[in-house]
């Protein structure tokens, strides 16, 4: 319609030049995963672990069962970004940050480690999808937060198409299965059937903390604990929910177009 054509033309370009140029990813003030600085931990303190709703932070017990100095383990794969630990921490060892680009190839890269392993290379074949990637999404019981951000990917600001990445209705046309939610018992079979309908080579990405570890809903009478043990996962992206820029960054990491930002739970600059 002439009305809308004229309107569209007068609006100019709404799409961000990021990630090709500049820093305008649209997430300037978005809080990400809490940053962990173990050297600031007080001996015997585990105040953060006491408030963590998903045991992303847990007291590290020694052989005798006592809490060891600077004694916590941090697993970003379980973090729901509630920020309670940053409020409970008396020393700033856990502090709010804007670190959200947490897409990783190995689950263990989400666990904080003194000695992070070097970055894992993309699996053979993944680079073949650098210029064109077709995605089938399955909601396996999410709260709709992840869907809201996935739907945002095709709004004019992020405009995912310009990166050669497309959502497709049929699993037959899909290269990548993108799963949200903790995998409820009732969604297990439809999820599995969708994956089986995909032609090989096929890949799987776990989007959001629920799909990575079960998140807030893990366990109980109706839910599983994410994708591990259900499907082979090629990329994990925790977040509650991960913002659209984090999802784009993870997709580019999967394609080998951008480096993985996180190793051993540490978010690089």
């Amino acid at each position: 319609m002439a009305l809308w054509t004229f309107f569209g033309l007068t609006q100019g370009k709404a799409t961000t030049p990021w990630p090709r140029r500049g820093e305008a990813d649209g997430q300037e003030d978005v809080l990400g995963m809490p940053r962990y600085a173990p050297d600031q931990c007080r001996d015997g303190c585990a105040d953060c672990a006491a408030v963590c709703p998903t045991e992303a932070i847990a007291p590290r017990a020694d052989a005798a069962g006592g809490i060891v100095p600077s004694g916590i383990t941090v697993d970003y794969g379980r973090c729901v970004v509630c920020q309670l630990c940053t409020e409970a921490c008396p020393t700033g060892a856990l502090s709010p940050s804007h670190d959200w680009a947490f897409g990783v190839r190995r689950r263990e890269d989400l666990v904080w480690s003194e000695t992070p392993a070097p970055e894992a290379a993309p699996a053979p074949g993944q680079r073949a999808f650098r210029r064109s990637l077709h995605i089938r999404h399955v909601d396996a019981g999410s709260c709709n937060g992840c869907e809201s951000e996935l739907q945002a990917l095709n709004n004019p600001f992020y405009n995912l198409h310009r990166l050669g990445i497309f959502f497709t209705p049929s699993p037959r046309f899909a290269d990548l299965l993108l799963v949200t939610g903790p995998v409820t018992h009732a969604m297990r079979a439809p999820l599995r059937a969708t994956w089986e309908a995909m032609a090989e080579p096929r890949w799987v990405m776990a989007i959001g903390t629920c799909a990575v570890s079960g998140g807030i809903a893990a366990g109980g009478y109706a839910c599983g604990t994410g994708l591990d043990g259900v499907l082979p996962v090629d990329l994990y992206l925790p977040g509650c929910p991960p913002n659209p820029a984090a999802i784009i960054a993870a997709l580019l990491t999967f394609q080998g177009r951008a480096p993985q930002r996180v190793q051993g739970g540490r978010h690089g600059e």
Binding site: V30, L31, C82, Q83, G141, N144, E147, P156, G220
Partner: protein, 490 residues
Amino acid sequence: MNGTEATIVSCAEMREIARDLFAGGGRMQMVYAWQPEPGAIELRYVASPPEAGRFLLWRCRPEGEAPSLAAIWPSLGWYEREIMDLFGLGFRDHPEPNRLVLAEDIPPPFDGHDPTRALRMTDIPRPLPELDAPEVQTLPFGPVRADVLESAEFTFFYIGEQILHYHPHLFFKHRGMEARFAGLTPTLGTIMAERVSGVGSVAHALAFCQAIEAAASCTVPKRALWLRVLLAELERVYNHLHYLGHLANTTSLKVGEAQGKLLEEQAKQINARLTGSRFLRGLLIPGGLRRDLAPGDWLSGALESLRAETARYVDLLERSDSHLDRLITTGMLRRNVALDQGATGPVQRASGIDRDLRRDHPYAAYAELPLIVPVRSEGDAYARAGVRAAEIDASIAVMQRVLLLLEDGPVRADCTTTPGAEGLGWAESPRGTLFYAVHVGAGGRLARVKIKSPSFSNWRVFPFTVHETNMMDYAINEASFGLTVAGCAR
């Protein structure tokens, strides 16, 4: 229960009470079960009074089965079925005694149920009509659907373009969220409530916090009450903008879709700039807010700019014949059906029912704010879109008022719960009435949390607007309801 006017009755009296409520112009909101002690079940019926005032509550302990009220209040039918699934309690003379939320092989998950209790329910999760007509085709669609959508399965019975019957199965995503609250502290309960329905994070956390505050009889500081209004209205605005964009998608108005979703993105970026979260999470807590917000001068300007752009956008939609042709008379919901089946929020207000919790049962600072509640009477997709578009304007006006009048002060008061306390909290979410009923157990931890979500109500209503319509209108009609599956399935 704090926040209500409670009466203890026998379950046998409930049918008469329900009839009197109906005759008097009140409205049944929900029924839920909980276990005051192991092995015992108590039913709680919550209703809106005919006039403004406190919510009504009836408590009864069923012996064996409870009488079903679904014939008097059809909207209670799903609540009773959910209780059958989760507690193993039967309801006598239920018109559709089928499973609702659980798959057939899962026993009632709540502890202490008596396996010998008569359980009059079939194991058929999807009560579909039996057909002996070869010209009628059946189309099962889902649970994995096209595009990025929530999982749900819809079954259509149709001839050509004409839909004869439609049945949604909405509980593939049932996560058992209510049970996940048990044993948590109220603070962790708030984190959980924020994640029941992602696009309703504020409304859920707010209703939950208000239920705890009612149970603990604590007073929230004034500044926090005002800031809560700001958060709740920001949530309404980004949801309604998404709604308008998605609706334009279903009528194939591509630039209209893009503009709606761009405005939604701008609203989410405003959310993030103010709170650090695009979904406004991480602020609410029983007793007020976790930290103060400093809505700088920029916010008022950003909201005014969003309001002006939205007004221009809505004006363009109003001038698009192809869009309007698809909405007008589509998905008609008559007032009496809306009332009987329990429609809520913009859906009921588009069918001529003038109810809004913010005005009728004010919470936070709504009593002190001028609130416009748009109501339309046509009951079609056009009216539902019109109500939401007008609500964006009204929301931004309320927020500007908050920014103008916001006073300095503390934002958090102590709020400690004692064992045995219980409270009801509510909020008018972007999709309608939301209730949280909270029971506190040992150590001040949560014993039972019941969520009455607006999508649970509106999904129940929706099929009545689909039967005997046509396939081409289905997606438009569904979008015009603005439903979430997560809120419904929990």
